[in-house]
């Protein structure tokens, strides 16, 4: 049974208290027991207790799947991007490197990429995912769009993100202040020089633009 359309996932970093209930909860998920698929980090502990939790955002057109040479990563029709299929995954790490949100994790012991599948075992039977069930501050929340609009009138869900020239639309929403303009950060605008990856892909045999040796 697919995850019901009306129920959506919302990340509200302003509410996060860094308690790691989500990480502990994630390790209880029946599809990957003992492994957490959540990233939770201090932004700058020296100056703030601000923490930010990241679960898979479940992209409409997942970069991880697009770069997978073995076609191991599947997005089910309900929009959930699943963990790599074990018989296909070649543990090449492409997905880990390509995901703009840093979600997939390579389990080197198992030679398998694992990632958040929005607790498919729970959400597909109408339950909330583990992390959003447990989260004591409801920085991770699961419910309907209407419910969120009613409960959090000062915030709005955003699910379109810009990474350079890549526009990414996701199933998971991030809550941002309702009245603030959408701020699209173009990563390349603040970069000092092109990444090594681009250099190699674009023009691997050419001299570097600054005249140095390749």
């Amino acid at each position: 049974m697919p995850v019901p359309d009306a129920l959506e996932f919302f990340i509200d970093p302003g509410r996060c208290i860094g308690c790691q209930a989500c990480i502990q909860a994630c390790t209880e998920c029946d599809t990957h027991k003992g492994q957490s698929m959540i990233q939770l980090d201090y932004v700058d502990r020296a100056h703030s207790t601000q923490t930010v939790p990241v679960v898979c955002l479940h992209c409409d057109s997942p970069t991880c799947a697009e770069v997978c040479p073995a076609d191991a990563i599947k997005r089910t029709e309900d929009g959930i991007v699943q963990t790599a299929r074990k018989p296909r995954c070649i543990a090449c790490n492409n997905c880990v490197l390509a995901c703009p949100f840093g979600v997939p994790k390579m389990q080197t012991k198992m030679n398998l990429m694992m990632k958040c599948d929005m607790c498919y075992d729970r959400t597909s039977v109408g339950l909330k995912p583990w992390c959003a069930s447990a989260c004591p501050s409801q920085a991770l929340a699961f419910g309907t769009r209407e419910e969120m609009a009613r409960l959090r009138p000062h915030a709005k869900p955003v699910n379109t993100f810009q990474f350079g020239r890549q526009t990414i639309r996701t199933k998971v929403n991030i809550m941002v202040p309702r009245d603030a303009p959408t701020d699209i950060v173009d990563v390349t605008a603040s970069m000092h020089e092109p990444t090594i990856g681009r250099e190699i892909l674009d023009d691997v045999f050419m001299e570097r633009p600054d005249g140095g040796d390749a």
Binding site: C16, I17, G18, T49, Q50, S133, P136, P153
Partner: protein, 763 residues
């Protein structure tokens, strides 16, 4: 109070051999707990054991092992939410360190203890108690109990001490937790319970959080506060540290530790000056306002700022928001209460609530946030040194007569009130108390000035500990009896709102371990004094508790296990009988206290508060500084507290791998301004010293703490223990120790401490 520093060596032993045999070792999920697609034998609805909020949860049980947890979405307080401790609590069960036998101290045995037959251990315990009591008098044997036990067990502990042992000396570790709030509430309201259910937080316009690290110590309450803010509430946080709940608050008041009374006096001063006062409420429902008003006249914003270290404009802003609010909720916790002026601090906070008139109505409330698993219920039914069941007083002849009648004994045979937990330790030190039984209490880690505590415990003729793991204190015991985990017994607890909830048994005790109350009853029987201690089940104890509490302030007579289950808990007071014309509480009990027109057994209709005239008391709260202030020799304030992943002395949570991994070791938290002056960088080893001891930990350099204060979390033992430094100064009324302020000096450590290479982080 400021004396010379101790000259004797205060370094605790490393105890490596004992740790090797008994832990703390870390448990992680493995085998059946890691298998996927397992169908549990049963889901047991119960509550978390790791704080006073008592979140509802379901334990997944397979083959007498708790293999995991599942949210209990229907339980209304937390609706499935859990903090990391709740999610991983199941790893304490079937743990490799679990005590499966009784043990006797034996220097020749591995780890210093030899396993022995349970019956023999009970017999030896009874013989030792009898020997001490017949030689030195009944009061020479003391009992220390705990507030993480079920209410049934706390009832049995009180009865065991008062009726079986007939010792005056029983006290409990709520002495380190709830007693300042309890005393302050009794003095102001005549009753000791959160005035409001947490639902009232949601509709409050201003929420004032004082000395409560909600996000780490009561994580589920965070969602109530955040939800109120979504609906427009302003959040004011009073704390020396920008804790996670303070990070996005509307107004942060960085109080200098130990100066809280000054702050609340200053706020009340401004409320009076601007006439942000509910005169009608004060007139009708309170006494004492004039004297309090006169006493705060001197607390001008300027003076308040000088004493509290908070900017004048912030004090003014707080007073204005609080003073002009339509609805509000004030909550506090140990940050306000762990002081030698803890009761005064609490009463000064209550004064601004009463002056506002915002109490006893929807969305207008006040509460202390309980800390321990049964922080509320554990302080109501007779294991406090001056208490009898139902919140009755051991010194009150009528109360003695009633309870003695229920117990079937002569009231004259009941002991008189004894002394508090720390005074029990002092009496052990002086030799007045020669024997001790402790349950659910780890004094070596949790009491202040722990060098003194260790030294005292070594003097005991006989010390028996009931525990499920060999706690740091149990290492000092002569006999250790294997008790029960939360999931191995049933009963009730009363959570932070005053809601009585059911703890259900998930698994059987392993080995020779058994429910704590059975062990107590076995000792009573071996003493030949089992009268009144022949219960066969917690339900039977609860039925007697209902009778014993009937007519008291903490009246449970109308509560039954069935009623609790039917209504997701029942709030006390819940009498079974009331006079004609007085309505009985609804099916959920008395959800909100002090509602207009409400009846209680003290006022008997005269008013909503629990005094004969039905009126609340405003109490004059003159500011007095902390017992040990900073000086040239010890120029920095030390304050202590919790982290989210650990619980109390860590006897349970320091054995749960994923929780230890979150925050493996304590760090000494300091502001970069202070760190720069001391030449300490983030991650350096730093030594803090007080007049009582020293402690070397890594430094955490953060801007989220006052530059005149350092913070150390207290969950760790031995050389990592913050309580090597803390002071045993106590509040004169509540006897709570001053964990939140003492004077230290800090320097960069000469070398890494010996424990760093010798012990694992949790040890």
């Amino acid at each position: 109070m400021n004396g010379p520093a101790r000259t004797t060596d205060t370094t605790p032993p490393l105890d490596r051999e004992t740790i090797g045999a008994f832990g703390p070792h870390l448990a992680y999920a493995k085998d059946g707990r890691l298998d996927t697609g397992i169908e549990p034998d049963k889901y047991v609805k119960t509550h978390c054991c790791f704080c006073g909020q008592q979140c509802g949860m379901q334990l997944k049980v397979k083959d007498n092992v708790v293999i995991g947890v599942e949210p209990w979405y229907e339980f209304p307080f937390n609706k499935g939410m859990m903090c990391p401790k709740g999610i991983k609590r199941y790893l304490q069960q079937a743990h490799p360190d679990r005590l499966l036998h009784a043990y006797a101290k034996d220097a020749g045995a591995t780890g210093g203890f030899r396993a022995m037959a349970y019956d023999a251990a009970i017999r030896q315990t009874a013989e030792a108690i009898d020997r001490i009591q017949s030689t030195h008098g009944n009061d020479a044997f003391a009992v220390l109990s705990g507030a993480s036990l079920t209410t049934e067990k706390t009832y049995v502990m009180g009865k065991f001490a008062h009726m079986c042992l007939r010792t005056a000396h029983i006290d409990y570790n709520g002495r380190l937790c709830m007693v300042s709030a309890a005393a302050g509430n009794k003095k102001a309201f005549g009753i000791d319970r959160a005035a409001n259910p947490w639902e009232d937080i949601l509709g409050a316009g201003v929420i004032l959080v004082s000395g409560a690290n909600i996000a780490e110590c009561a994580p589920i309450t965070t969602n109530y506060v955040w939800q109120a803010r979504e609906q427009g509430a302003k959040v004011i946080v009073v704390d020396p540290r920008i804790t996670p709940i303070a990070r996005t608050c509307d107004l942060f008041l960085p109080v200098k530790p130990g100066r809280d009374t000054a702050l609340f006096n200053g706020i009340l001063h401004l409320m009076i000056e601007h006439d942000w006062i509910d005169h009608a409420f004060l007139e009708q429902h309170t006494v004492g306002f004039e004297a309090v008003a006169a006493s705060v006249r001197e607390w001008t914003p300027q003076r308040t700022a000088e004493v509290t270290g908070i900017a004048v404009k912030s004090i003014q802003q707080a007073a204005e928001w609080w003073g002009t609010a339509e609805t509000s909720f004030l909550c506090h916790a140990r940050g306000l209460e762990h002081h030698s002026n803890g009761v005064k601090n609490v009463m000064s906070a209550i004064n601004i609530v009463l002056a506002s008139g915002r109490i006893g109505r929807p969305n207008c409330g006040y509460a202390t946030i309980t800390g321990q698993g049964n922080g509320q219920g554990g302080r109501e039914h007779g294991q406090k040194c001056d208490q009898l069941p139902g919140g009755r007083d051991l010194a009150n002849p009528e109360h003695r007569e009633y309870v003695a009648g229920v117990w079937g004994m002569d009231p004259a045979a009941l002991p008189q009130p004894g002394v508090d937990a720390y005074e029990i330790i002092r009496k052990i030190d002086t030799g007045e108390i020669k024997g001790l039984l402790s349950l659910c209490f780890n004094p070596v880690v949790s009491l202040p000035d722990s060098h003194f505590v260790r030294q005292a415990l070594e003097k005991l003729d006989f010390y028996v500990v009931i525990d499920f793991f060999l706690s740091e204190s149990a290492r000092y015991a002569h006999i250790v009896l294997p008790g029960s985990l939360h999931e191995e017994d049933e009963g009730t607890v009363t959570q932070t709102e005053g809601r009585v909830v059911r703890i259900n048994k998930a698994v059987e005790c392993p080995g020779e371990a058994r429910p704590d109350w059975q062990i107590i009853q076995d000792i009573a029987k071996a003493l030949g004094r089992e009268q009144g201690l022949t219960f066969e089940s917690p339900r039977e104890m609860f039925e007697e508790l209902r009778v014993a509490s009937k007519g008291g302030i903490a009246d449970y007579s109308g509560i039954s296990y069935e009623r609790i289950e039917e209504h997701y808990g029942v709030f006390w007071p819940c009498p079974s009988d009331v006079p004609d014309g007085v309505p009985l509480p609804g099916p959920q009990g008395t959800v909100r206290l002090f509602e207009p027109g409400s009846w209680n057994p003290v006022a008997r209709g005269a008013g909503p508060f629990y005094f004969p005239d039905g009126k609340a008391r405003l109490n004059v709260t003159p500011y007095v500084g902390p017992a040990e202030d900073v000086d040239e020799e010890f120029p920095i304030i030390l304050t202590t507290g919790r982290v989210v992943s650990q619980f109390l002395s860590g006897n349970q949570t320091r054995r749960i791998g994923p929780l230890v991994d979150h925050c493996p070791e304590p760090r000494i938290e300091m502001h970069p301004r202070l760190a720069a002056r001391l030449g300490i960088a983030d991650g350096d080893w730093a030594t803090a010293e007080s007049r009582r001891g020293h402690c070397t930990l890594r430094a955490s350099v953060v801007t989220t703490i006052r530059p005149d204060t350092v913070f150390i979390p207290y969950h760790w033992p031995g050389r990592k223990s913050a309580n090597q430094l803390t002071i045993a100064a106590q509040d004169p009324i509540s006897k709570i120790p001053e964990y939140k302020v003492c004077a230290v000096r800090v320097r960069k450590a000469d070398a890494p401490p010996e424990y760093a290479a010798a012990l694992e982080p949790q040890q």
